[in-house]
Symmetry: C2
Subunit: 387 residues, 2 copies
């Protein structure tokens, strides 16, 4: 079991009606709020009005239109508002995109140069505005972690920024806010949560027994409730379990005692950076392809463990269980209505080489991942799920 530090200071307020605490919590930081959100969905659902009503004693500035893969340009706009209006606290209302943009804005607000500098040199990230979250998606776990992924549309780079000052101070997680999610978002979010657990499960360490068992618990939860949430969008139990799984899926608890770089996320990040596809859809495409590519004598035992403990497979030897587990994973994504080929999301072979090169350049996939992959390996993975 590797050494680790674990400290997650975010205050989670989980459940129906928890938003009522917002005014009291926000006033700890001041009166001037930058509210960051995406499209018009929070206006359609009434959440926007609820929040404005709760916060009528505050001065609220807005940054709307945060993109599904949040763009540097939005961050620059947000940072400018923070500086101009002396913002005290950022309120992210939405999913990973709004939260990630808010995190980058929170530290860019204290930086004199261009926000992108902070992505390239973390030592420039010294201070951040407090961030409060009202969560409306179960997917990225950004509500309970210190990471943010931002896309620079000028260079096609999609890079992660992270640091303890970026933990949200408080996150309101009300599962009823997921009731109105489009099916595609529910499915993509479910794929994202499952992928987070898999990325941390498929790592070289074998003695972090408790961590592995907790990962399996989380994966079983996602597999159990993903389809229920799609069929019954207002099933509270399903939404609540998925929402909590999203937070635990990436708050470090699935990685303690383990270590290493991720695999499917770097392969996917290039797809969404170059083609702006939905991240969870990209993961549903590349994950089974990655599993097939790396299944070998060195990895078969862990894949079989995954098959036995997550998919309840009992028949056959380790290789058979591992292969069946890959099949079940692919079927699961399909059953959620997610794509299984790049063709389905409009991606052809044109940039496979370039994206594979970028995946290697911007991640540890070739040096520190579960099964090291070089540029050629990644091109082959793209090819194997091309159509």
């Amino acid at each position: 079991m590797n050494n680790f530090n674990f400290c997650v200071p975010t205050d989670i307020r989980f459940g129906k009606g928890q938003i009522a605490c917002l005014p009291e919590e926000l006033k700890k930081y001041g009166k001037r709020i930058l509210m960051v959100y995406g499209g018009g969905s929070i206006k359609r659902t009434g959440l926007y009005d609820t929040i404005l009503d709760l916060l009528k004693e505050f001065e609220i500035y807005e940054l709307s239109g945060i993109e599904p893969n949040p763009k540097l340009d939005s961050v620059r706009k947000g940072a400018a508002i923070c500086k101009e209006k002396n913002i005290d606290v950022i309120l992210a209302v939405g999913g990973g995109s709004s939260i990630d943009a808010s995190k980058h804005i929170a530290c860019a607000a204290y930086y004199e140069g261009d926000a992108w500098d902070l992505m390239l040199d973390r030592s420039k990230m010294t201070k951040a505005l407090p961030i409060a979250v009202v969560l409306t998606m179960a997917a990225t776990g950004s509500e309970m972690n210190p990471g943010a992924v931002i896309t620079n549309e000028e260079t096609n780079e999609k890079i992660e920024i992270a640091g303890p000052i970026l933990y949200p101070t408080i996150s309101i997680c009300d599962p009823t806010y997921l009731y109105t999610l489009p099916a595609k978002q529910t499915a993509a979010g479910t794929a994202d949560i499952l992928s987070h657990a898999m990325e941390q499960y498929f790592q070289p360490t074998d003695d972090a027994y408790l961590t592995d068992r907790i990962s399996e618990s989380l994966m079983k939860t996602v597999i159990h409730y993903g389809p229920i949430a799609l069929k019954e969008p207002e099933n509270y139990e399903a939404r609540a379990n998925l929402m909590w799984a999203s937070s635990l899926g990436l708050n470090h608890i699935l990685t303690v005692g383990k270590g290493g770089a991720w695999s499917c996320h770097p392969i996917e990040h290039e797809l969404s950076a170059y083609y702006d596809i939905t991240h969870g859809e990209g993961l549903a495409i590349v994950t089974p392809a990655w599993m097939k590519a790396v299944l070998c004598d060195a990895t078969v035992e862990r894949f079989a463990m995954f098959g036995r403990n997550v998919w309840d497979l009992t028949e056959g030897d380790a290789r058979e269980i591992a292969e069946k587990a890959i099949e079940k994973t692919a079927e699961f994504f399909k059953s959620l209505g997610l794509p299984s080929t790049l063709k389905e999301v409009g991606i052809n072979a044109e940039k496979f080489e370039e994206m594979a090169e970028e995946a290697v350049r911007t991640s540890g996939i070739s040096t520190r991942s579960y099964y090291h992959l070089n540029k050629e390996d990644i091109v082959k993975i793209y090819e194997s799920c091309a159509e």
Copy 2:
């Protein structure tokens, strides 16, 4: 799934050699340290010298001799030192007893009256000194939670105090410190961790699926590694998994979305309050007795789930699996060398009535536990494990 708040700010430094960070971390709070510990074991193992050597730039005051069930008298002594010496930070070196005593001392240091007042009226607990922990036991989880149990030897009361100001600020969890634990402590600690998970698992809520699966993960971990740690005291993997299980076992993560009062702990607390027996031994005695007493049509499904998911039982109907699970649990405690009757720890029937009455009076066992028990029920439980 019940609403919940979750916020665990303790900074966990887990693994070999993590103690090296101690001087840097402690100097954030000041120079004057009250070091709280138990018997002479940390002197025998060399940990005491290691700490003094690391902290030679600090002013260290000591409170040693903290009892296995920490006593009010020790708390009073500690609070007096804090006041007299203007202590900046408390350093608990040990297991739950030293940590619990430190927590009570930490708030008593800011209270003018008698420390016991804080146990009876939590509103008097307004401020606490920061607490740092060097953990040498895997059992109570006190290193990552805001609770403390203190015994008033004058009144035989064993009461819990809790509040967000009592979270340790930092806990050094080095599994190698468990290598020298006597077998009895390893066994009793293992029983305590398992019992914590069971107390939270056996609660009325059925829809906190993820929480229940995580509990099962933790119980499987304890069952897997408890016997290994006993057989091979220097098995790092076993010690590390047990140590992390102890922290997660009672840091609130096994109870989120659930709720209700505990059962076996109140029944046991009276045993250790009246007879000063080892808490984990008491739990090993009363837990199977409690399970047999409450198994009925209303509870059989959860007991069967426990049997299937924790003990991997597959044969038979729910009732058979439930009964087998109780048997396996009792056998597990015995296999660790723990007692299974009150007679073995020198307790006779003399105070069954009085203890049962106290258990009801000082806990929610008769009104909010998984299966409500009144005084007579508890007397019967004591009788059933008398000899």
